[in-house]
Amino acid sequence: MRLITHNMLSCNIKGVTNGFPLKIEAEKVIEKEVDFNPDFLRHMFAKIEWKALVEAARSMGYAELPEDSPDAAAIDSADETFLRKLHHALLELHLEEGALVCPETGRKFPVNKATFWTHIDSVDQSGGSASMWTT
């Protein structure tokens, strides 16, 4: 799971009001190279919650991102090094194994072989033997 996805994820348990961002407990992080696309990065910049991204990158072992986000205006003229860092953090870091933790309830959502499980059947868990849902 990439940080671009993580930046969007929010705990969906009923009643939780402050479920973003999910804290990362990283057990295994890998890096996969992705083509650099500055236009896409600029487009994404507007959507991203910067603090959440910095925090998440740090917990994945990448501390290169600056604490303060550049202004939205400044991003257009941002130099390539900054964009490269952003690119690396957003798209090239993969959380392979670990968990994401809801900040409000402490509920852990496992990440297993890069797949992130969020399905919660919050009322009735009496599924059959094939049930693989997190509880």
């Binding site: 996805t5 929010s10 969906n12 939780v16 499980w117 094939a130």
Partner: protein
């Protein structure tokens, strides 16, 4: 041998043709009298405090069955321990949710012990009718809506989730053709868009437009595994409750997904979720199977379901084998015999297309409840009752039919690889078809009638319908989320 508690109130439920009393015990004498007065076959005493609470999301244990200290070979008496009626009320937040919980517990614990028990026939005496009807009624309180929306109904667990889990690799191998209309939608998006696919299946559409970034989710873990092995960005999530924050996506798609949701509330919630997760001004494409199929011969391969069957909890065993099915002319691939149709037509008043259960004293309340709980019923069907020909009645009934089991044939060699088929066959979820050399699974579908998708979508406040069309037996719709600063 028995522990006796008294009853504060007594409710009577016909349970699979056994009359059952559910008692909220306080005083043992009253309970004894109730037992004899109602001539019940079973009495359940429940301990609502011995359950997990919905309000504690962090707790790890799954559903706990109420304790049954007595194990009797014939279901004469089953006693659960009880304590703290008032406390129980507080935990569950009211009498109605507590009762619903009890019924669910009884069903579950009884199913485990008495395999013939296949769920409640949800009728009660006049006092209880109000409670039960409200529980099924679609325009009910928030609490009930949350109950029905957030938790997955049994029929979806068995006939959607488990089936797709079992057939995932085979299913994926048959899903490769890209639908031109969807491809056109995706290609029309601006470069660099973030596209969210809810119910992405085998990830067929993820990455279709190489200039966009796709994030897919599906309820089925095996299908998501297939996607993630392809390097796609995916996660396991429920389309009715997306774990995304608001307004992140530039566009969203949900292709052939909503027809697997069994209640109108859930379908509406899924649409609302899709709109919620896109940015203001973002587009959403939804496609669903149409009731009006281009290839009518397909319908003969599908098993129509009575809506009442869908609403009840589905018990163990193959649906084709339970007594309810055997007695109901709807469950069969042959056409409905004319004589039985005309008989049932005379009995039914407002909803002729429903299968009628043979409960002697409760016909009236049954009908009322069914009429209330199924908003899609076309009232105009009542007029058909006066028509002469039975064929027209048959047609009318078939026209109103929107709930189906659609078979999936999983070839034997594929079934062995998947491994889930052994348990599916054992539990009756699937059947063998030696002639075709395949394990046959049934998938639950609620196919959409003309205008239904539109109607659901127009109920979403902050989105407009910008396009709607019928293509290849699917109803399709494109919504646009309202831009900000517009009222």
């Amino acid at each position: 041998m028995y522990r006796w508690y008294g009853s504060l109130g007594v409710w009577e439920y016909p349970v699979n043709r056994l009359r059952t009393t559910v008692a909220c015990p306080r005083d043992s004498i009253i309970t004894l009298c109730s037992f004899f007065r109602f001539r019940s076959r079973m009495i359940f005493f429940f301990d609502p405090t011995e359950t997990h609470s919905r309000d504690r999301p962090t707790q790890k244990e799954t559903h706990r069955e109420p304790t049954l200290p007595i194990h009797s070979p014939s279901p004469l008496l089953a006693v659960l321990s009880f304590s703290g009626f008032t406390e129980a009320l507080q935990i569950h937040g009211g009498l109605k949710p507590m009762l619903l919980y009890v019924l669910r517990s009884i069903r579950i614990s009884s199913r485990a012990r008495y395999p013939l028990f296949s769920g409640f026939i949800s009728i009660a005496t006049s006092k209880m009718r109000d409670v039960k009807v409200r529980a099924n009624y679609s325009k009910s309180t928030d609490e009930d809506e949350i109950l029905s929306v957030k938790s997955t109904p049994e029929i979806e667990k068995k006939y959607v989730h488990r089936v797709y889990d079992a057939i995932a690799p085979h299913f994926s191998s048959t899903r490769f053709a890209k639908w031109p209309k969807v491809a056109a939608f995706l290609d029309s998006l601006p470069s660099g868009s973030v596209v969210l696919d809810a119910g992405c299946g085998n990830g067929k559409y993820l990455g279709l437009n190489p200039s966009c970034f796709f994030i897919g989710c599906d309820i089925s873990n095996p299908l998501i595994k297939i996607c993630s092995d392809k390097g796609q960005e995916v996660l396991v999530a429920d389309a009715v409750n997306l774990p995304y924050r608001e307004g992140f996506g530039d566009a969203a798609i949900s292709i052939a997904v909503l027809h697997h949701l069994s209640t109108e509330n859930r379908r509406k919630s899924a649409i609302e979720e899709l709109v919620r997760v896109v940015k203001p001004g973002g587009f959403v494409l939804i496609t669903v199977w149409a009731a009006e199929q281009e290839d009518k011969s397909l319908l003969t391969k599908w098993t129509p379901l009575s809506p009442k069957y869908v609403e009840e909890w589905v018990g163990p065993g193959s649906p084709m084998n339970s007594p309810r099915v055997r007695n109901n002319p709807f469950f069969g691939l042959e056409s409905i015999p004319e004589t039985e149709v005309s008989m049932k037509e005379q009995k039914a008043e407002s909803s002729p297309s429903f299968g009628l259960e043979s409960i002697p004293e409760t016909d009236e309340s049954t009908r009322e409840q069914k009429a209330e709980s199924l908003p899609e019923t076309k009232d105009s069907l009542g007029e058909h009752k006066d028509e002469n020909s039975v064929e027209e009645l048959l047609e009318a009934m078939k026209m109103n039919q929107q709930e189906y089991f659609v078979p999936w044939h999983l070839p034997y060699h594929r079934a062995e690889v998947s491994g889930a088929s052994a348990s599916a066959l054992a539990s009756g979820l699937a059947k063998k078809d030696d002639r075709k050399g395949a394990v046959v699974y049934n998938r639950y579908y609620h196919v959409f009638s003309e205008g239904e998708l539109e109607r659901l979508a127009s109920d979403v406040d902050n989105a407009m319908i910008v396009d709607k069309f019928y293509d290849k037996s699917n109803w399709c719709i494109v919504l646009q989320k309202a831009a900000l600063n517009q009222d």
